[in-house]
């Protein structure tokens, strides 16, 4: 029953869950960045617009990188 394959799958599932939770946290940070940029733009303050956009793009790149890592992880037997 407890074959090496069993432990490998369990480990993969835990790693996957961890990555997904981290991606979710980054997603919420992106929501906050979007709302902050929009609010500041409407108030006429544009100083943080470009840094906010850069940060959001960096978070998206991180999410994309993690997705590719997950897909690679799933392919490994």
């Amino acid at each position: 029953m407890n074959t090496p394959e069993f432990y490998r799958r369990r480990q993969k599932a835990i790693v996957f869950l961890g990555l997904m939770l981290f991606a979710l946290i980054l997603f919420f940070i992106q929501i906050w960045l979007f709302v902050m940029t929009l609010e500041n733009m409407l108030a006429g303050r544009t100083a943080m617009a470009v840094p906010g956009a850069i940060a959001s793009l960096a978070l998206f790149a991180t999410n994309l990188w993690m997705l590719r890592g997950v897909q690679r992880l799933m392919k490994i037997n």
Binding site: F16, L17, L19, M20, A23, L24, L26, F27, Q30, I31, L33, F34, T37, L38, N40, M41, A43, G44, R45, T46, A47, A49, V50, G52, A53, S56, L57, L59, F60, N63, L64, M66, L67, V70, Q71, M74
Partner: protein, 166 residues
């Protein structure tokens, strides 16, 4: 047991679709991309120079109607857009919106020996007559300045300079 469960809770399992963790992760990444795109769009829009907006010129008054250190109320471009034409102490003409950028109270032209400013009595806000910037109080933005043109002995309003960030 399963047969009885399916009898009492008939769910069409073939039509049901569970979202797998992989699909959820993909969707999360897609939503993340959408948010990044939205933030970039907002940042790009905020960097577009707003400049000024022109309207049909409107005659305000004649030059002789205002003495230095006095002001005149008028509406431009719509009747509900209250404005203030000021003949400054040095004789120059400037015009601003009368609505305070805090809570839209009408501002007054305050002039004295050592003071010349736009004053909002509601919350003790004040703006400069040079460029409309905030001098004191809670207003978050400079007060919008109007574009004026002198045609002979007449003063005309031609547009509004869109406000810059405070």
């Amino acid at each position: 047991m399963n047969e009885r469960l399916q009898e009492e809770f008939p769910i069409e399992w073939e039509d049901d679709h569970f979202v797998t963790r992989r699909e959820f992760f993909r969707f999360l990444t897609l939503a993340s991309g959408g948010l990044a795109l939205g933030t970039v769009a907002v940042a790009a829009y905020s960097k577009i120079p707003k400049g000024q907006r022109s309207f049909d010129p409107a005659l305000i008054c004649k030059v002789a109607d205002l003495k230095p250190g006095t002001s005149l109320h008028f509406s431009f471009p719509r009747p509900s857009d209250l404005c203030l034409l000021i003949c400054r102490k040095d004789g120059k003409y400037v015009a601003y919106s009368r609505r305070c950028t805090h809570l839209s109270c009408p501002v007054q032209y305050e002039v004295g020996d050592h003071v010349e400013r736009l004053y909002c009595p509601c919350h003790n806000g004040a703006f400069s007559v040079d460029d409309g910037r905030v001098l004191q109080g809670p207003p978050p933005h400079p007060i919008p300045q109007l574009m004026l043109e002198q045609r002979g002995d007449e003063i005309w309003a031609t547009g509004i300079k869109v406000g810059e960030e405070a």
